[in-house]
């Protein structure tokens, strides 16, 4: 009766596609494609951070960029000071996760309603953005790392092999490492969602009152969910920083938060694969539209998104799934009907 992860075809399909892309991609793509797809991979990890907390915990955060930026700056500052990237990478998960837990504690134990939660997360992002924009002077340094204000931090170290600070990854290796991280994040989230903790999280998303009437401490659950999402967003920020070897306050921008919301909404809230699909489609579309110079990129993207929300309110993946199910049933009905007519003919 219980559908375990091992029996979920979708999970294995996603894992298979991920591994195939990871190993075959660098053999068939040129440098430009690899760089481009690496960007999609980083943003997919970022999208997963919101896909998890919104889709499987019912927490709608308008400020996921706060954790993305925090992770990016944590990585930048730590890697410049330490001179290697393994510990900074771990810190880029841990620090945003700790900050997310602290913020979540005040929000959820303070019993903030959804609307106020959205406002608080948005305001926190704006505070970070404003704060980091005002750190241009030389006095704003952490060790050897100058925060640089609106100019950002340049020359962020490229990811190195753990334990060997001189062994930097080339673009193809970085792509494979990031694909590995995306697969691990996806796998971990699927395992969490399939666990008892994950089931309760879905229960909380569905009905908080009933979850607490069953004896579950929904505040504690939500803090943990929010912290996990914050850590993942922070880690994607570090991936972004090392991929670009540069980070600026735009990492904390409202645009960055809004993008995550758009990807999750377009891909399908309550799915993990959907937002990844949306990142790839919409980022690819942005790139193509940007090179065409016909109309403003944002204008066309906005129109596409409005169309998606109006025509496919469940999102891309759930709509595709529904379509596939209907086609499957239709096919089976036709097969049954033709089998019945064959039988009737042979009886005659």
């Amino acid at each position: 009766m219980e559908k375990t992860l091992a029996k979920d075809i979708g999970f294995w399909v996603m894992l298979g596609i991920g591994l195939a892309v990871m190993f075959i991609g660098p053999m068939v793509w040129g440098l430009f494609e690899i760089m481009q797809i690496t960007q999609y991979v980083v943003l997919s990890v970022y999208a997963l951070s919101l896909a998890y907390i919104w889709g499987f915990g019912g927490i709608l955060s308008f400020g996921q960029a706060a954790f993305f930026g925090l992770g990016a700056y944590t990585f930048a500052v730590a890697s410049i000071n330490i001179g290697e990237t393994t510990v900074p990478f771990a810190l880029s998960f841990l620090l945003p996760a700790a900050f997310g837990a602290a913020l979540g504690y005040f929000m959820f134990y303070g019993r903030l309603s959804d609307v106020y939660l959205g406002v608080v997360t948005m305001v926190v992002t704006l505070i970070f953005w404003k704060l980091i924009n005002h750190t241009a002077g030389p006095e704003y340094s952490i060790g050897a790392a100058r925060l640089g204000g609106f100019n950002g931090i340049p020359s962020i170290p490229i990811l190195n092999v753990p334990g060997d600070a001189k062994a930097w990854l080339d673009p193809a290796q970085m792509f494979q490492a990031f694909m590995g991280i995306l697969i691990i994040v996806y796998l971990c989230l699927r395992l969490i969602i399939a666990s008892d903790f994950g089931r309760v999280s879905v229960g909380i998303r569905e009905n908080e009152t009933r979850a607490s009437l069953l004896g579950y401490d929904i505040r504690r659950h939500k803090v943990i969910i929010f912290a996990i999402g914050s850590g993942i967003a922070g880690m994607s920020g570090a991936m972004w920083a090392t991929y670009q070897t540069f980070i600026d306050p735009n990492a904390f921008s409202m645009e960055m938060s809004a993008k995550a919301l758009v990807w999750v909404m377009a891909g399908g809230v309550g799915t993990l694969a959907g937002p990844i699909l949306a990142v790839i489609l919409l980022q690819w579309l942005s790139l193509k539209l940007g090179t065409m110079h016909i109309l403003n990129n944002y204008f066309i993207l906005g129109a596409i998104l409005m169309g998606l929300v109006l025509l496919l309110p469940r999102g891309l993946l759930p709509s595709l799934r529904l379509l596939a199910e209907r086609l499957w049933h239709l096919g089976r009905q036709k097969m049954d009907a033709s089998a019945a007519s064959r039988k009737a003919t042979s009886d005659v």
Partner: protein, 243 residues
């Protein structure tokens, strides 16, 4: 039934602005007792339940569960101490299956394999096994009532609160429910809020009547049904029909 009290409230008051929904209620329930709460709409029965389960913090007064003062406690702490409630409007996890709903309740008390077994037992007991894979949000009201009841019973609480459990049920479902309530009352204390007099007569012995937030009468069911004052405030012709 033991003489020890599982639940007592002393001078319990719940006010919303100028409205007193629960007014100085002194209520007590013995271990293993089955009690029915009657009263017209707005009498304060559901608000009383919400105070007992921590969904509302009383304005004043105390609530004691097996001697522990639980006034103002968080809902989950009260539930973990041994209170299960089926709410007036079924509170369920609509987007997931019947089985998953009940299993999530069973998991509070049992380890994984036992929780599965317990969930299956409760589905069987409440007659919803055939709906196991159905999404709860798609069920009829009576079926939802049974699913919520199964969830409450899966946690095996020593105090069960049932708020209008028979509402929206078919005759068969109501009969099954009455049997279930009587069976539950053999191992737990049960408080039932209900308006369906045929159902009440089937299960009730001792009855508490609420009116305007306060306890109006406490007596055996037959006495209550023949009490003219009670009939005037609430029962009306239903009493004659039921009798």
């Amino acid at each position: 039934m033991s003489d020890a009290h599982i639940l007592t409230t002393e001078k319990l008051v719940m006010q919303f602005g100028g409205v007193t929904a629960v007014d100085n209620v002194d209520f007590s329930l013995k271990e293993g007792e089955l009690r029915c709460l009657l009263g017209p709409n707005g009498a304060g029965k559901s608000t009383f339940f919400k105070c007992l389960t921590g969904q509302l913090t009383p304005t004043s007064g105390t609530i004691k569960l097996r001697g522990a003062d639980i006034t103002g406690w968080n809902t989950h702490d009260i539930v973990n101490l041994g209170v299960g409630i089926k709410t007036q409007v079924p509170n369920l996890f609509n987007g997931i299956s019947v089985y998953e709903n009940i299993r999530m309740a069973a998991r509070r008390k049992h380890l994984k394999p036992m929780a599965k077994e317990k969930a299956e037992q409760m589905m069987e007991k409440c007659g919803v096994s055939h709906l196991a894979r159905r999404e709860v949000g798609l069920l009829a009201h009576g079926q939802r009532q049974l699913v919520e009841l199964a969830m409450v019973l899966a946690e095996e609480p020593p105090l069960v609160l049932l708020d209008e459990p028979a509402a929206g049920m078919t005759g068969d479902e109501r009969d099954r429910l009455a049997d279930l309530v009587l069976e539950t009352a053999r191992s737990a204390a049960v408080i039932v809020v209900e308006h369906d007099m045929a159902f009440i007569r089937r299960i009730a012995k001792f009855v508490t009547v609420f009116n305007r937030g306060a306890i109006f009468r406490e007596a055996m069911i037959d006495e209550i049904l023949s009490d003219r004052a009670v009939q005037e405030i609430y029962l009306g012709k239903q009493a004659d029909v039921a009798a």
